[in-house]
Symmetry: C2
Subunit: 235 residues, 2 copies
């Protein structure tokens, strides 16, 4: 996780410096631990050790363990922005000019699959970031509500528009919403099952060649599910 330390404005701050760095280290260390072991599986002392701060720093800077947890989620939310943003923009753009052609729909569908899988499976995002998203998707909680509201559902809305245009159904029809979920399922399953896939195919890492194989398989499936000509080589 890349954590940006806020640059102070030119007016000098008073007091002992270093709080920004400490807060950043605590957020970075804890975000990963919370993602991997969830809230109760991580102790304040472990976070403090990993972040190289005193154990009381968590209460001092964040008001307590839960405050740090919320701060870490907000950081994750920010990290997720480049995943769905471009997809939504591309889908909205292709719809802007009236009913898009089959060719245009295929191009968008190909882009969607390629972009999301590249973001999720290459080094851009750590695996546990996508794990956190998937867990929230599966079991929505109050804590992660913004993740759902601001990242997942808008992406789903956009996918619904692409699906409606491809299948010739109404955007808000249940069959469209469900088909869009099916399409997302075909993409997200590779994030969810990345370790299982690696084990089954004997891949120690997902290198660019393997990523391309996954993208191609996913494109074929998604085009097929959308009723578009499923020939990924044309992408």
């Amino acid at each position: 996780m890349n954590v940006v330390v806020a640059q102070e404005p030119s007016t000098a701050a008073r007091g002992r410096p270093g709080g920004d760095e400490s807060r950043a280290r605590m957020i970075a260390a804890s975000a990963r631990m919370f993602a991997e072991r969830s809230f109760d599986g991580v102790s304040v002392r472990e976070i403090a050790n990993a972040a190289d701060v005193n154990v009381s720093a968590v209460s001092y800077h964040f008001g307590g363990k839960r405050g740090l947890y919320i701060a870490a989620l907000e950081q994750l939310l920010e990290e997720m922005r480049p995943v769905g943003g471009p997809v939504i923009e591309r889908i909205v753009a292709v719809m802007a000019d009236g009913a898009p052609s089959v060719s245009a729909l295929r191009d968008v569908a190909c882009f969607v699959v390629r972009h999301i899988l590249t973001k999720m499976l290459s080094g851009d995002l750590e695996p546990w970031v996508t794990q956190t998203v998937l867990r929230e998707f599966q079991n929505p909680t109050t804590d992660y509500r913004p993740m759902l509201d601001e990242r997942v559902l808008p992406l789903h809305k956009a996918m619904g528009k692409l699906t409606a245009a491809s299948l010739g159904t109404e955007v808000d029809a249940p069959s469209t919403v469900l088909a869009a979920h099916g399409v997302m399922g075909q993409i997200m399953v590779f994030a969810a099952a990345r370790r299982v896939v690696q084990e089954e195919l004997g891949w120690s890492e997902i290198e660019p060649a393997q990523l391309e194989t996954i993208i191609e398989a996913a494109i074929r499936g998604v085009l097929g599910a959308l009723g578009l000509k499923s020939d990924p080589e044309a992408c």
Copy 2:
């Protein structure tokens, strides 16, 4: 979760009775709690309260919290048997007579989708049972290894056979394995996202009519992804 209490043989046991009932109640209460809040999020005292036993009963009967945890997982494993078993049998059966026809492949694919979704989304399995499976699929752990080895991977192997026959690819080719994952993703996404789907479509419960709508959408998507004629009404 239906927990069966072992019937004692005709020879009477010595000692105070009731241990079987207490163990069953502890397993049932804890399985759900572990699924919802994972191991560290549940305390022995909470389990004891929910199961109406003394707190020391966990250590007495199971050797401790972790022993109970393992026992609960084994129970879940048993619960999952009727989900994948019939699917594997059906796929194996259709392959037994050489290359199946497209019509036969469609029938099997329809059955697979209908069976799995019916098991997962109707009252047959509690939502948190499927949540546990999905969590293990996403983040395989030592604890859940049998769930993966004995339930999930065999089902995936069978799905790979169906996929290879449908797409005309080699069973063990990476593209087949990945396409099979895509197909499973299209089905499992409805278990994973059941709460999100309910919220989006305004469904308070997934009644039989809604379940049928989901099944139909999933069948259409799966048939499309498998390159089979995607007309679910023919199922």
